[in-house]
Homo-oligomer: 122 residues x 2
Amino acid sequence: MYICLIYTFMLYSSELIKGTLKTIILKLLADNNRMYGYEMTQRVKTATANKIEITEGALYPTLHALESEGLVTTEIEYIGKRVRKYYKLSPDGAKRSQEKVNELADFMNTMKFLLDIKPKTT
Amino acid sequence: MYICLIYTFMLYSSELIKGTLKTIILKLLADNNRMYGYEMTQRVKTATANKIEITEGALYPTLHALESEGLVTTEIEYIGKRVRKYYKLSPDGAKRSQEKVNELADFMNTMKFLLDIKPKTT
DNA sequence: TTTGATGTATAAGTAAGTTATGTATTATTT
DNA sequence: AAATAATACATAACTTACTTATACATCAAA
């Protein structure tokens, strides 16, 4: 007797995640005081059961953009000889975080209505 | 005495809508047998209270892409002298429509969980 | 008669990603 | 001991899916 286990790594098509990265980062920082980039990728990966994987090529430019917009501040620390860059929300960033999450929530409600998606019955 | 009415046209930032256009079109066609492009833009506009406005520059290339992928078929009709192009789902398109809607629903549930968004209490 | 709505289409430019590559340290496996 | 994987940052080249602008044409309304 064979037992066949198929693990489907149902990663979302990338267009979907596209508009949401900044919102995700800002929300993570709103909840966690400070985080570093690699930590964010791991947090999102485990929190979504591998459904959302943030690539470094997307993450770091976005973090730099948030910094240059004044929405986050940074602190560099050394773990042994390895550099680690912590990000923290500025007051503007905290405000923006809420706005972005609210906008996304509103958008998702609109889309659910438009696509006639029923709430999960779990 | 002045009465000041401010209408806020809270259009979503375009990155959000970005990944969802094909899904919206396929779902419209799944529900309506056949539709033409302009009709789709109006339907979405009114159904979302002007929150989502599909631009022609996005719509028509996407419709052409769907056609060349074999997901929709077209019929041309004349209203007076004015041309109108109707789109209809192919069997593949009907299947894809369901898949896309399911994927988006799944994605939105994941995002709601990740961003700790509470269901609306209305 | 000219503006707005209806209707389709494409070209140029942009934003936000992907993919690939690079560098370096530390832990784990063979 | 050496190779591989994980940790940690970063950037360059490319792609995708849009936006913005333009174009053309018909028909209704001001």
